[in-house]
């Protein structure tokens, strides 16, 4: 983030409490900590079981296709890029470009999920799912590998899904644009987003305050999206690259 956590934590400010951009971002970062700890529990289980059954994990991982995982990694990384571009576009006041980049991010997220779904469907088609007859005949380690595979990638996919929902809401808010101040003023208000002068001027105030809030919301949604990305970056080698 542009401002370090240190300065965020140090500065007490009694501002109008609904427009505290630093506070909103601090809140989002705290929320991301909780998400890391949520996944942390699963990573802990993974670490214990993999240490206990290293060769079973190694063998079970051969059934996963590294190509599928690599493609999904590329898709998610690209979606993070388009997310950053969306935030940057809105900072420069280019609302329509921001919407386009946001739409691209959502499309890539959906593509990731489709890829994931087809991978799961193929596995389940082969009879590789928890408590399946095929898996129950295998070793404990392989069962645990698949338990973790479905649990961890499933929870991650759920997060992608939630992220898509959040992005869709923000896309809708952007599409609606600022509500007050007439068409032209509203357009100018959005275009000038980030410029202090526009924010201070009385007539355009409502429009640009709403736009500033959109900016904070988009940036926070971006932070969440990057978290989802980061989690996947760890899941990818742990499942696809250990065979």
């Amino acid at each position: 983030m542009s401002r370090g956590m240190g300065s965020t934590l140090a500065a007490p400010a009694q501002t109008a409490h609904h427009r505290d951009a630093v506070g909103a971002k601090l809140g989002m970062w705290l929320f991301l900590f909780t998400e890391l700890l949520l996944f942390g529990g699963l990573f802990l289980l993974y670490a214990v079981y993999r240490t206990r059954f290293p060769s079973d994990f190694h063998f079970a991982a051969t059934t996963l296709d590294p190509l599928v995982g690599t493609v999904n990694t590329l898709i998610l990384l690209t979606s993070s890029l388009t997310m950053v571009l969306a935030v940057a576009a809105l900072e420069r006041g280019r609302r329509r470009a921001a919407q386009a980049f946001l739409a691209a991010t959502m499309a890539l997220g959906a593509l990731f999920l489709a890829n994931k779904a087809s991978e799961w469907a193929a596995k389940i088609g082969h009879g590789l799912f928890p408590r399946s007859g095929l898996l129950l005949d295998r070793t404990d380690g392989e069962n645990l590998f698949y338990g973790l595979y479905y649990g961890m990638t499933g929870l991650h996919a759920l997060h992608v899904l939630v992220g898509l929902g959040i992005l869709a809401v923000i896309w809708g808010l952007l599409a609606r644009g600022p509500r007050r101040g007439g068409e032209a003023a509203a357009e100018r208000g959005t275009e000038r987003l980030g410029s202090e002068a526009a924010a201070e001027r009385g007539t355009e105030r409502l429009g640009s305050e709403a736009a500033a809030e959109r900016g904070i919301q988009l940036e926070n949604a971006g932070l969440y999206w990057h978290l989802v990305d980061v989690v996947w970056i760890y899941l990818f080698p742990l499942f696809y690259l250990i065979s």
Binding site: Q14, T15, H17, L30, T34, G41, G141, N143, G147
Partner: protein, 550 residues
């Protein structure tokens, strides 16, 4: 402190009766005013306490004589599970932070509201949704859960009772807790009034701050653990199933990584309340402000590293057992730092033995018994003998009820005039305290003795030689109930018909006493400026920084 002739409170423009906005019920359940949300929590939490108390009384009644008395074994299992789930997840964990944190925190730091008012409302909605799910779990599926509030695997995965829904309820409640903690951290960082530096924060705020960090950093571990129980039951992942290589012990680790720090979510805010009440009624600044503030943070930190002491008999390695034992002893240090500082605060104070202060004395006494019996169990050799006995039940009731519960009652009595704008009569409250204190010790002290003699916990039946102890304990539960009823009736009457309270009825020095009782919607007419430390009674004597109405 003579503060007589209180002017009628400006009730007409208080948060209880605001001019604009939505009226009626919607004006409450859709409010974003932290004070109204605090009251929503107060009433909903007290409602669930009543249910939890009723379940506890039923259990005690069953145990009045050996053999089956009123319920059978499986009903008894459901009773202690529900009593635990309700009292822990619906009462003590949200308890003081959600009620008094919400109401008092913004006032004490001179803010207009919390940082995210709408998120605050969402946490209450999560709380209610979780509570409804928990109640639904009783009447649907395969019957009420019978696993104990700890949901230990593998039994929680195999039992046919409605564990899935109960676990999901706890998950949703966890969300509420996380959001509250997050909100408080951002509020304390961002919304302090001008001049309110970190070491000018009231100690209640410090305790909420450390609590909020635990809520934020520990609850997600519980969330994933409960999610895994659900996934095990729904999809059979096998991660805790020994038949497929899973390790149930890992469940216990994950569960206690949250649930031990959760103990400090329960007790730290109560300690903050004590640190507020003592200086006010000793008319003296708190002894060792920084030591108390930092001991809160130290308890939060150490509290993370001691979860293994719940698992001494689970078959962990000896090395981890003695490390956990050592760390457990270390937690006692910051706790004792607080107790000694509180005692020192009273030295040479001009003590006003008001109801909140007497509840604080009860707190300190009961908490010390709870804390010292906790130390006994921290020792491995003793732990092996008293593990899973009534001794443990007695111990944690001394900490949770004697500590957090009495802390909550003290907080209610201390801030009652601020919240409702009314005063309550002292006499019935003194009587209630006496009855409560006697009933409490009658109820729980025999458990310590019985457990020491070998009475296991969670049994609906027992050997004849334990009957005297159980009988005393059950009688104690009735005495305790009488005390609770006296207190409830007194306060409910006072909230409606008590005389008007002045802004600062106790002579407190923190910011919440500088605004009207009950406070107006916007809390302060002008943003208060802070020029010194809290609890500065010396400055009060010199005429500086005195609260209004001097």
């Amino acid at each position: 402190m003579a503060r007589t002739a209180a002017p009628p409170a400006p009730l007409a423009c208080s948060y209880l009766h605001p001019g604009g906005g939505r009226g009626g019920l919607l004006g409450w359940v859709l409010t974003t005013d932290h004070k109204r949300i605090a009251l929503l929590y107060l009433y909903s939490i007290l409602g669930f306490v009543a249910v939890g108390v009723a379940l506890g009384l039923l259990m005690r009644l069953e145990l009045i004589a050996p053999g089956r008395t009123i319920v059978g074994a499986s009903t008894y299992n459901a009773l202690f599970t529900l009593h635990g789930v309700i009292m822990i997840f619906l009462f003590i964990i949200p308890g003081i932070p959600a009620i008094f944190g919400n109401f008092i925190l913004p006032l004490q730091i001179g803010a207009r509201d919390v940082a995210f008012p709408r998120l605050n409302l969402l946490s209450w909605h999560c709380y209610i949704a979780g509570a409804i799910l928990a109640v639904t779990a009783l009447f649907t599926g395969g019957g009420p859960p019978d696993t104990g509030w700890t949901f230990y695997a593998p039994y929680s995965i195999r039992t046919t009772t409605n564990v899935t829904l109960a676990v999901f309820a706890a998950f949703v409640l966890g969300f509420s807790s996380i959001l509250t903690g997050l909100n408080f951290i951002v509020t304390i960082h961002r919304l302090r009034a001008r001049g309110m530096g970190w070491f000018r924060l009231p100690l209640f705020v410090w305790s909420l701050y450390s609590t909020a960090w635990i809520q934020l950093l520990a609850t997600p571990i519980l969330a994933i653990t409960l999610l895994l129980v659900m996934m095990e039951r729904l999809f059979g992942l096998g991660l805790f199933d020994p038949a497929r290589g899973g390790d149930p012990l890992l469940y216990q680790h994950l569960f206690w990584i949250y649930s031990h720090p959760a103990v400090y979510i329960m007790i730290l805010p109560a300690m903050g309340v004590v640190s507020e009440i003592l200086p006010t009624f000793a008319r003296r600044t708190i002894f060792g402000y920084k030591a108390i503030a930092f001991s809160s943070m130290a308890i939060a930190l150490f509290g993370y590293l001691v979860w293994g002491h719940h698992m001494f008999t689970s078959g962990m390695s000896d090395t981890s057992r003695w490390i956990f034992s050592l760390l457990t002893f270390l937690v006692a240090i910051p706790s004792a730092v607080k107790v000694f500082n509180w005692t020192a605060t009273l030295y040479k104070g001009s003590i006003d033995a008001s109801p909140p202060l007497l509840f604080v004395f009860a707190f300190v006494f009961l908490f010390m018994i709870g804390g010292l019996t906790g130390l006994m169990q921290g020792a491995l050799s003793v732990n092996v003998h008293v593990h899973d006995t009534a001794f443990v039940v007695g111990h944690f009731h001394y900490v949770m009820f004697g500590g957090a519960g009495f802390g909550l009652m003290a907080a209610l009595l201390y801030w009652f005039p601020k919240i409702f704008g009314r005063l309550y009569p002292r006499r019935p409250v003194y009587i209630a305290l006496g009855v409560l204190f006697a009933g409490f010790n009658l109820l729980y002290f025999p458990m310590l003795v019985l457990g020491w003699m070998g009475q296991p916990r969670r049994y609906y039946d027992y050997l004849p030689q334990f009957q005297t102890g159980h009988l005393i304990s059950t009688i104690g539960s009735w005495v305790l109930l009488v005390g609770l009823l006296i207190l409830t009736v007194t306060l409910m009457r006072a909230a409606r018909r008590g005389p008007w309270a002045p802004p600062d009825p106790w002579g407190g020095t923190t910011l919440e006493w500088r605004t009207a009782s009950p406070p107006p919607v916007e809390n302060f007419a002008v943003e208060p400026a802070v020029t010194g430390r809290p609890y500065d009674y010396g400055a009060l004597g010199r005429g500086a920084a005195a609260p209004e109405g001097r």
